[in-house]
């Protein structure tokens, strides 16, 4: 399980002519099978664009992205995606949302009774894995945001995708729920063995989840720095306070401030408050 992703000079502009916006400068990156990579960076750095390009939801202006050597041309069942919100089908129960892909022709080529049985077993297993047994027959509107995201993850995992793409999936959740989801998604990574590419603007989340962090910078969007996370494969919440964790967090935050122009903003703010203090005296 798990597939490798080769990104070669991926380049993206939106619009045409002089008003075109360069969303992503030629980016190259290799993601190993079964790797957990997190993309982090200030808004406008192209992290979501790059993820959507891997998912086939966004075309490349030039360059290429290949999965296991096969260049991608559009969305495919080998790359499942989890969105921040509004992706569940409110008219279907939790169980039917998770089984949604079974209605699609792409998943029903081999329809022996054994396959059907395996699929229904898969749905049940995912419901247990995600802790959704007590709400299997509820509708998404009846669930909290955290539970809704569990359904979205289970649905994405239903077809055993070798690659799982996650676009700020926990961005709308409260801090406590998010911690629970972090341990859950790490567990999923361990037992499912998918390659996971995870986009976030939360540096702590990026470090705690990722084996490798891709820091991206804006104007124009580009890959800035790669970091290996010096944490063991088994992780627990206490590690967020470990010195090596904090040192990495400091380094990444510093770099984000430098690349996003936030540092100059802060300096200007300091100058302004100094000037205001002068006026008062």
């Amino acid at each position: 399980m798990g597939a490798n992703i080769e990104i070669r000079d991926a380049f993206k502009t939106f619009g045409h002519g002089p008003r075109a916006i360069q969303a992503l400068e030629k980016a190259s990156l290799d993601i190993r099978p079964n790797e957990f990579v997190t993309f982090v960076g200030a808004s406008g750095c192209g992290k979501s664009t790059l993820l959507r390009m891997i998912g086939g939801l966004e075309s490349l202006s030039s360059g290429s992205i290949a999965v296991n050597g096969q260049p991608i041309t559009g969305p495919g069942v080998d790359r499942a995606m989890v969105f921040q919100h509004y992706s569940l089908y409110p008219w279907l129960t939790v169980l039917d949302n998770i089984r949604f892909c079974r209605q699609l022709k792409a998943h029903t080529r081999d329809r022996t009774s054994a396959d059907v049985e395996k699929a229904s077993g898969r749905a049940d297993a995912l419901i247990r894995l995600m802790g959704l047994s007590h709400v299997a027959h509820a509708y998404p509107n009846q669930l909290s945001g955290g539970m809704q995201q569990r359904v979205a993850i289970a649905r994405a995992l239903m077809s055993r995708p070798p690659i799982l793409l996650m676009d700020e999936p926990f961005g709308a959740l409260d801090a406590q729920t998010r911690e629970v989801m972090h341990d859950l998604i790490r567990h999923v990574h361990r037992i499912e063995g998918s390659t996971i590419v995870f986009v976030t603007h939360d540096v702590e989340e990026a470090i705690y989840l990722g084996q490798r962090i891709v820091l991206m910078a804006p104007r124009p969007g580009r890959i800035d720095t790669l970091y290996d996370v010096p944490l063991p494969a088994e992780r627990h919440q206490d590690m967020k306070l470990a010195p090596e964790f904090l040192a990495l967090k400091r380094g990444i935050l510093e770099r984000i401030r430098e690349t996003s122009g936030m540092k100059t903003d802060l300096e200007q703010l300091a100058r302004l408050s100094a000037a205001a203090a002068d006026l008062e005296t």
Binding site: G74, A80, F100, Q103, L104, H107, Q142
Partner: protein, 273 residues
Amino acid sequence: MSARKGAEGGRSPLWQIRTAIDPRQYWLLALGGLLAPLLAWGLASSLDGVDKVFLPGPADVLSRMWSWAVEDELAGDVAISTWRVVAGWALSAVIALPLGLFIGSYRAVQALLEPLTDFIRYMPAVAFIPLVMLWVGIEEGSKVAIIFIGTFFQMVLMVAEDVRRVPLAQIEAAQTMGASRGEIIEKVIVPSAKPALLDTLRVTMGWAWTYLVVAELVAANSGLGYAVLKAQRFLQTDKIFAGILMIGLIGLIIDQGFRLLHRKAFPYLAGRH
């Protein structure tokens, strides 16, 4: 929704912005809102010096409605008018639903048809009457055609908008699960837009009724709109009132029917308790 007490110093939630109020208070206010104008009407019409030709009282209108029902053809007028409205509206829906679905789903179809529809919908339906008479004739078809013209172009645009409001994430999730274009329309866009579409059908049904009087301008000899027009000729003000109220009442009943259907058909819209 919990009533926000305490924080507001125990003040009544009646005048708190967007705050839920007690259901009993709600129904009392709704009843008051309906009865107050009726009362005002009754009072105004009973004043000295008010000619019944200008303002008949509620009792006059009610008795006129009664005689219309007993001695004349109220039931028949209601039936034929309802048939015309529903036929024109249904014809609109049959064409507007698929067309709006395509306009909302494909930018090319949108570019081709939406500006045109936007243009036509500003044309007054009344002005089409001579053309309709010329092309469709003066039979039942012409009344249906006027109601169709009045509702169709608005309906297409509303359906397209309902379809465009389907969250992109729902569509993209299906794409990443390997859904084909046909499957996305059939299994995501249509079921996702259904509640909004039913609302659009409800609202356009209301508009269809407002075109009834216009439609029955065309060589009609039956129907509620025709009755109102004829009463106007004979200065039967009470019958004009009765006809207008009858149309309003039918509209209210149909609207409530749609709302009930909405609640029954989409139970999943009810949120967390």
